[in-house]
Symmetry: D3
Subunit: 279 residues, 6 copies
């Protein structure tokens, strides 16, 4: 279990599902027809471009589920920055088994590494001024994978689910005031973080007065963020959110918030181009 | 069941998984604390940007699983091109239920619509000269959703799984010749499509002679594609593949292949920016 | 819940599995392409041959899972003897939905009715002299369906699982005597039926002396059965088993055993020829 | 992974389900009571009759799931024709574990071998004149097993699911002409096989003209088949279907169709009589 | 969705599992034999003793899964204190369906209400001086139910899983100092609660200095708790844990800690005696 | 497979569920942050109090699922009476893995041992005069575990599910007489145990006359039980049921019934205090 692995049950379930999906009713009909059962081979995972690696534990599990006689070794760990053409790992065993697992392993590796790579770009742009966090904007069934990949890219994890921390948004305030909402949340869930989404400085002041643990600064400019952070005065932590892009993250980080949370890390990360060269 | 829906079992399973993942052990602790059980509300799905809609059947299923008393109506169907600020649909019911389903519904809609939107861009660029197809490079557990979204964007579906059609690649030809491989595949799987990946014109000629049904032209330039198509002379269909981008798709389509298959449609489509405005 | 229905959870799970298996990743590609979404229709379940009906609850569930707007009505119930060309039921709804569910519904109905029909033939041949029972020789995942179908055909259910009753066979007696085995079984599982398989009359005598509840007469001739039954003298019940066929069942039943158990009821019943005539 | 194995996920899931079904809540109460935990044993899989073997990978998986210390070796592979009394394989380990797995392993082996054996009989009767294919008339949850067994018996696999290929039947032609249906199917699913069911020679001619890939000759006599094949003239492949039996298959094959598809292979194959002799 | 309901997916899954477990392969064989299919009835949920009600949403789901025609109404809600003989709710429908669901519904209701009742006793004893919390000592598969029941009894929820908050215990401090551990945890998981288990006042001081969010006072006497709370001086919250019983909870609460967490709430709550009186 | 193990599939499923529940989306965030990946350790399972051990097979499975490199050895078997401070077993491997599995393993062990311990107390009090049995009053999803634990405590298992044996209660007799009910049950389910619940001696006499296999004496005093047993005269077995406690079990057992069945064994057993001391 490395620092950047999803929990074991998530690895097992996602891999089993992905293999079932890819094998269908008949299995790999090409390999059955073309590759003799007894032929062995090996393959090398290689980067076609630079980026940050993630998802190796799940790729290992793919081959473990396909064929326990396949062996797999990694030269680099999740979280490593890799360069184009770098050899990342090696898999060896019956050629049919390698081909059966190839696409599923690559699909997972490329997506997780894509998330890690995009996260790293944001982290770099934030230059240590603010911590980059993910959101609940993850792809269905892949949250554990994506949150682990965000960590591999140097980011941090926000809420894992609706059950994790309180986050009071506009939609919650239709029938009551912000102060009441914070009070009710604290009464029902003492000992849990209470975060309040604020669109205006006035709301920020009210959230501070209501003793929220964290204030979400929604769609603010760097200047507004700076003012909000100043208003909070260190007593309450702050988090920038809403349409943050690589173009805007540096200025927002500079403005002094503790966190910047970015949905794109998980919902819009392009796959990292990885391959399995079979020899 | 519309033309662009995934099969029902896939909708039910992916939605159930996504909700379980997002609700966790305690459920939506914010809504429980802050929203009175009896308060109702409604929300409007709105586009924050233009694109092509997909995933409405699954979004409907989200609310059906959350709370059968919630009603949902769509103004537009999957496959429709939507413009910024357009109202896409309306959901009504207990406010708690709307908030519980909001993020899961949007995560699915945004991803599916992102795939449809990117597909449409490629389809546009190909200007009817070639059909745009997806690949098996889909995210784990989401293949049925993503292949349906590709259709919503005007694309076509390539193999659904390894069990669907024969596709002979380099990796299959380590121990035997292309001709033998085609022969064996035809002998084992008569009545199924046999496609052969070719890197050179010489291979294209051999694949034609071996009477493959379809030739995959791997990483070729438009000129090479043109030559290959000429060589095949209409007897065998052709498919361009390998790193096709929005920059290159027009020239490749122009070159005359029947299909252009593009992994990015499913593995690198950014989410479409959609929202649920709750009132 | 009729007398001949499998438990609800079994119906739901088997149907969901069968539909997922038949719909695959893309769904019913023929209907999507050819049938307009708005076209409705109805279909009539019809017998192509005579037999005994079973499996209607599961067939109903198929359409419920495919499309809740489909309505289904049965003219006859499970357990009914049907004649060639008889109209068994009627299903109505969107034509696409009817076609999606058709094959899965028929596969289940035909198998269950096949089991019921074969059971009825054995029951007829036994002419009330012995009760016909099934065994644990059922197809994987279908035990609940097949045991319900046996009842629909007039048969009775033997053990539902290894957890149900004690059945001591040859294989259990390698390291201890029959008497010891019965004693141990009674000590560990008081209040459960203890059955002992006997190959010889001498064993039958020992099983009776050991006060087994039931004696399984394995592969005996009618004369041996008669003698065994006489030996047991009504104190212990008897069950004939082992390769019983339609040719031999009458003579064996005549010989006086209480039960005749027949693996073929479930492992070798040919499907009953049923169809869904769509109009 | 042999040529005749179902995909791994199907093996694991079907076996897990079958064992859960057979073990129930308490497990094998007879063995718990009667067999000491420490006693070992071995068993020999034996044929009680001649036929074609299939299902060994799943039988192996049964014992792997029951007890990883059990070892199993097969003398013959799936697809082999076996003779009465032949020893097929050997299993060794704790006696309790052998008895727990016995029935589930045999249920799977006997059904798969039954399907393979029946397929081989049809293949023999067709004397190489036509290829024997299965259908979608499989038992719920067992399609992957049964399609693999058909291959073990020398047959070929037709569609694996509704998602695999287009097959236009009567039911699809209520609202449009055959020609339109083929055109729509080709437009929506380019690159997939399009098969058209024909009841008359006139339809065969129209299907040919519409450039279907394959024509299903439904319930035709050998003479009609011969005429249809002649009409198609080699340009379009042909498949005979509809109530084909061992009595009729030879004449139909002789008539010149490319394929003969037979539902009975999977829905009506009697179990092959196999046993596990424990010593 | 009331304040005391588990998340919907948990309700559906636990109920489905419990029904499958209780129905087995054949279903309710007694009702099938004895109750005519057409007979209706109604039942009244009644308390045989006083306590606090919980689990009604899951009991409702039991009957919904058994038979959608069954109607159910509750007179009281989860969290209500009920008295002996009080009528809690009413269920009406086919008598077979009522009997099939009876035991599963009662098993869930009695366990959840048992947890709620025991929680309320602890809450009463703590007399508002400290908040009573649950732990991760829940029964396998029932955490969501038990945590909801704790809330129904007036308690609060501690961590929902290992993924929820940091809790540093003895076992984590074998290779590093408490201060280092807190620092590392804060570095890896900024924005999450960090709790430190302390056995001694000296550790409490160190945890405070390290700026833990919460200190777990493990197995301390009331006097030690008082001293620890004094030492923390309101800057850091405190939680008493370790073998707290109804005999000791009052004195511990009096000592001034913010929380008292009690494993017994969920792992040792006796069932509340409830019944379904069918008429 | 020991005498007191649940079936394997139940062990695997319950453990997988419990681990998923406890690991959540992010996994063990404390260990990830604080324990270096390479550090090993070992732990000793120890009793904090005396009792009867159960659940070791499932605890072993917990660590097998968490990390196959962890080794585990037990000094004592299920069913053993253990004393305070006794070392029960030892687990060794990566420290992270031990901590990840710790709580789940202990939750299962403590609950199963709690059931076994309470059962043993009842068995002791019954002093061999009657056999102590469990009921269907088990916690949802845990029946197989709890029934195995009852055996480990010296008890016996009553019905495993509604599908196991016939038990006719008051609720079944609304529309027909006891005699009819027994007759119908015997007609439908020949070869299965038929038990009849009786509230009065008159019913006992009728049940005997109807030739029930077993009579359930519901909520009777010891004197009534004695009379009922006398009335049955050894021809029919008897079972005492209804609110039996440790205070009343001795007198009831003395009264001569064959079985005493006690719901509290499974629904109200407090956890046994066990710990894992990690070093």
């Amino acid at each position: 279990m490395s620092d950047f692995d999803p929990p074991l049950h998530a690895i097992r379930e996602v891999v089993a599902r992905a293999l079932a999906e890819d094998l269908g009713v008949l299995g790999d009909i090409t390999s059955i027809a073309v590759i003799p059962e007894s032929v062995g081979g090996h393959g090398v995972f290689a980067a076609r471009t630079e980026g940050t690696l993630a998802g190796t534990a799940a790729a290992t599990e793919v081959f473990r589920q396909v064929d326990p006689t396949v062996t797999i070794e990694w030269n680099v760990e999740d979280g490593t920055e890799i360069r184009e053409a770098q050899q990342l790992g090696r898999v060896e065993g019956p050629l049919r088994s390698l081909l059966v697992g190839e696409r599923t392993a690559l699909n997972i590796l490329s997506h997780c590494s894509g998330v890690a790579t995009l996260t790293r770009r944001f982290v770099r742009s934030a230059r240590g001024k603010a911590r980059v966090r993910d959101t609940r904007k993850t792809l269905p069934g892949l949250r554990a994978f994506e949150k682990a990949a965000v960590r591999a890219g140097g980011g941090f994890n926000h809420r894992d689910s609706l059950s994790d921390a309180v986050l009071i948004k506009d939609n919650h305030l239709v029938h009551l005031e912000l102060e009441q909402a914070v009070e009710r949340a604290r009464a029902r869930w003492p000992g849990r973080i209470i975060e309040v989404e604020c669109d205006t400085l006035s709301q920020v002041g009210r959230a501070k007065a209501a003793r929220a643990d964290l204030v979400l600064l929604d769609n603010m400019t760097p200047d507004q963020v700076r003012e909000a952070v100043h208003l909070l005065g260190g007593a309450v932590k702050s988090e920038v959110s809403g349409g943050v892009s690589l173009a805007t993250v540096a200025a927002l980080a500079e403005a002094g918030a503790d966190f910047i949370s970015i949905g794109a890390l998980t919902h819009s990360a392009p796959a990292l181009d990885l391959a399995l060269d079979i020899q």
